[in-house]
Amino acid sequence: MTRKQRRLTLIGCALAVLAIAAGLVLNALRDSIVFFSTPSMVAEKHLGPGKRFRLGGLVEQGSLKRGDNLAVTFTVGDGGATLPVAYKGILPDLFREGQGVIAEGALDAGGVFRADTVLAKHDETYMPKDVADALKKQGHWKDDYGKKPNNMPSASAAPTQGAMR
């Protein structure tokens, strides 16, 4: 093999691997990405049943209902529109009424969002970024969402705890 042939083999191999990788990436980008919507955007876009997307918004106060065998329903709103959500399973630790939430799933024929994943990837001081951005855009952002909780009165710490220091 000449030097040139060796080099060509090498470049050929590299190009082949890159082409395969590019094909895989493009294919996967077409099939496996999920878009983000708020209830208002769902109403505007007329998303059909069965199309997967991520729904973000605030869990409406008083809308959480627990059914049999871990079935839960709640309503997600963004100030403009609301959308009922049904989910079966354990809700994350940080799931609360009045707080931001992101659910992934699809609408069913009855217009209910069937979620298979519910994320609350944020702590008490932190909204999911997508939700916060969407709320800000619609002018429903209240500054106190991002505010830190009040300082807890430290005097209430039990004396038994103090002894454990």
């Binding site: 093999m1 030097r3 060796r6 083999t9 090498l10 191999c13 590299a14 691997v17 890159l18 395969i20 990788a21 895989l24 990436v25 294919n27 996967a28 980008l29 099939d31 496996s32 990405i33 999920v34 878009f35 983000f36 991520r54 627990r66 065998n69 871990l70 399973g89 354990i90 809700l91 630790d93 940080l94 990837k121 944020h122 702590d123 008490e124 932190y126 999911p128 970024k129 997508d130 951005d133 830190k148 909780p149 300082n151 807890m152 009165p153 430290s154 005097a155 710490a157 038994t160 705890q161 103090g162 454990m164 220091r165």
Partner: protein
């Protein structure tokens, strides 16, 4: 007083770093040994001051000085001592301070042990190291000063994020940073080589141990983080393809490639230009990871802070260093001489293939991680790229890589014999086929891909053993002779075998966990029994308990199998009063390499509690694999050939012995 001293020490460290950035370079230009030697003393002094600054922050946290904002926001007087210390880097400011401390540590190590480096190379390396350090000192001092005071000190702190109050925080971030930042050394060496315009095999002999060390820490750090997420988050998942995880995986992939290409360069003096590029890319990806995690651009559990000034500042650092080093590369790389010819089928060829596949896999992760960000910036559309994307792109690239792994070490340098290697791997191939057949028959009608993947894993593991067997001529010569040969093998050979086998071990764990994982989700009341994978779990009852800074509800489960009691498991749900946050403490029961996993959901008014129980077969192998890899790396690192410098073998060995004592 302590806070101010810590702050002042950091400013002094910045001053030293600035001197170290400029003076040694001038010294190298003028060929002035005294000026070049400035680098050594400033690097050591810098380490001293940063260490003092870090110690100051630790002291503030331990003594619960709530007049310092950082302590107030992340600590609580009732927090256990361990979490007071680990809480230092459980927040943005502190973790950046840890970052620069480790950077200074590596700079100090090069300064202290680099006596046998050419003087101008050492000067250049330390100067480049100081450029990075200066940028990050500035970042800390301007945007994220951990020593800020509060005008009216509160009496009590706001406590650390409960998810972080875990032993995992003590190990995971320091390990990960030792890995991330460790790659700065190979970066500095690469840039120094470009500045000097000369690069040789000795250069690679220097870079490889540092890269290897960083790689070992990064491997362990990622594995540790994965296990932490597995037991702490309560979802039973160990890898989410979360951008933050990808941020650590990308430097790992590039670093693994660098490790292998540096080998070619050291042994055969080939692939120089590529190795330099990889060194730059690996550290660039570490910087990118720091940016992704620290700027808060991502929606993710790790992004504690959202402050645009920080994001812009790190982005600036990113542009300067990545753009600068790549431009330097484009300008100077053509002057580096290529050397060492090799046929496509040879050890070098195999390592090139390894590099090709690893960097391509790294590129797909890069695209999957940054595409949503880019799309949002360009079109405003929000998308999420989840696990399916990575499963479809990353996995197909890893299959040929794993197939090729056993062949690599069996091929000769320069020109290899593929047929001969295949013959020597016959045993491994047979074992793999048997494994496929057995698993397929056992799980008949189940997943079709899983048995193939198990076969692939068996091939990788057996391939590593075949290589060893071949080298010690097992069964061809008397056993005692083989054993003597085994003792004589270079440690790097053992290291390679362990690291490659670790890949196979991890793959078995991954396949078993994802394919044959069984779960039970439901609400249970006391005396209810759940059945999962042949185990019976009875809920005995729920008991409240008081912890140091939380209250918890402990559920007790009695686990039986075939009527025999196995153990008791106590998952709990903790409520942290200060933050009003709750965490789920999963209970784990290890049986061999498999685990039972229970996590609790919400308790409802009628006395039932939501329960999630998993049986995860062979799940521990997922983490044993990386540990094996790291152990292999450690063996390789202890090889005399790689010991830093190692010009006089006998003396170096004696010194290492002393150090070990």
């Amino acid at each position: 007083m302590i806070a101010e001293s810590g702050h002042y020490a950091l400013v002094l460290a910045l001053g030293l770093a600035l001197i170290q950035s400029i003076v040694p370079i001038i010294g190298a230009r003028w060929r002035d040994a005294a000026l070049m030697n400035v680098a050594r003393s400033t690097a050591l002094a810098q380490l001293l001051f940063v260490a003092a600054s870090f110690a100051a922050l630790v002291t503030l946290h331990v003594t619960s000085d709530f007049s310092v904002a950082n302590v107030y926001e992340n600590s609580h007087s009732l927090k256990p001592l361990l979490y007071k210390i680990t809480g230092v880097w459980g927040n943005h400011e502190g973790s950046m301070l840890l970052w620069v401390s480790i950077l200074a540590l590596f700079g100090g190590l090069v300064a202290a042990f680099g006596n046998n480096l050419p003087l101008s190379l050492r000067a250049h390396v330390l100067a480049v190291q100081a450029w990075v350090a200066s940028a990050f000192y500035l970042f800390i001092l301007i945007t994220s000063n951990p020593f800020l005071r509060i005008a009216n000190p509160p009496i009590e702190g706001r406590d650390l994020n409960p998810v972080l109050q875990d032993i995992g925080l003590a190990v995971h971030p320091p390990m990960l940073y030792l890995g991330y930042v460790g790659f700065s050394i190979s970066f500095s060496f690469a840039v120094a080589a470009l500045l000097e315009g000369k690069i040789d095999a000795a250069w690679a002999r220097w870079v490889r141990p540092w890269t290897l060390m960083a790689w070992i820490f990064l491997t362990l750090g990622i594995a540790m983080g994965s296990y932490w997420a597995y037991y702490e988050l309560g979802w039973g998942g160990w890898w989410f393809w979360d951008p933050v995880e990808n941020a650590s995986l990308m430097p790992w992939l590039a670093g693994t490639a660098l490790l292998h290409s540096a080998l070619v360069m050291e042994k055969r003096n080939a692939l120089k230009v590529w190795t330099v590029l990889l060194s730059i890319l690996t550290f660039s990806l570490s910087l990118l990871g720091t940016f992704l995690v620290r700027s808060g651009v991502l929606t993710s559990v790790h992004a504690f802070a959202t402050d645009p000034t920080r994001g812009v500042f790190i982005l600036l650092i990113l542009f300067v260093f990545i753009g600068g080093s790549l431009s330097l590369y484009a300008w100077r790389a053509p002057t580096l001489k290529q050397g060492g010819l090799f046929a496509p089928i040879s050890r070098e060829g195999a390592l090139v293939l390894n590099n090709l596949l690893l960097t391509t896999a790294c590129a797909t992760v890069f695209i999957g991680t940054l595409y949503p960000l880019a799309l949002e910036v360009l079109t405003g559309e929000k998308i999420s790229v989840g696990a399916p994307f990575f499963n479809f792109t990353f996995a197909p690239l890893f299959v040929p890589l794993l197939l090729a792994v056993p062949f690599g070490p069996l091929l000769a340098w320069k020109r290899g014999d593929l047929l001969g290697a295949a013959q020597r791997l016959m045993v491994a191939g047979i074992v793999a086929l048997v494994a496929i057949a057995v698993v397929f028959a056992w799980t008949y009608g189940g997943a079709t891909l899983a048995p193939l993947a198990i076969g692939l894993a068996a091939f990788v593991i057996m391939g590593a053993l075949c290589d060893l067997a071949e080298r010690i001529a097992l069964f061809r010569i008397p056993l005692s002779l083989s054993l003597r040969r085994a003792r004589g093998l270079p440690r790097a050979t053992w290291g390679t075998a362990f690291a490659h086998a670790g890949l196979g071990v991890a793959l078995i764990g991954i396949v078993c966990e994802t394919t044959w994982n069984s779960e039970y989700i439901g609400s249970m009341k006391p005396d209810d029994v759940a059945r999962v994978a042949g185990y019976e779990l009875r809920l005995d009852g729920l008991n409240p308990r008081q912890g140091p800074n939380f209250r918890e509800m402990v559920a007790q489960f009695t686990v039986t199998r075939d009527g025999e009691k196995v153990s008791v498991m106590t998952p709990s749900k903790r409520n942290f009063t200060t933050r009003g946050a709750s965490t789920t403490e999963a209970a784990l029961l290890t049986r061999g390499a498999s685990q039972l996993y229970i996590s609790l959901g919400d308790a409802s008014a009628d006395g039932t509690i939501a329960v999630r129980i998993y049986h995860k077969p062979l799940v521990l192998m997922i983490w044993w694999g990386p540990v094996l890899m790291a152990f292999g790396g450690l063996l390789s690192l202890s090889d005399r050939r790689l010991r830093v410098g190692a010009p006089k073998p006998a003396k170096a060995a004696a010194r290492a012995l002393q150090a070990a004592e």
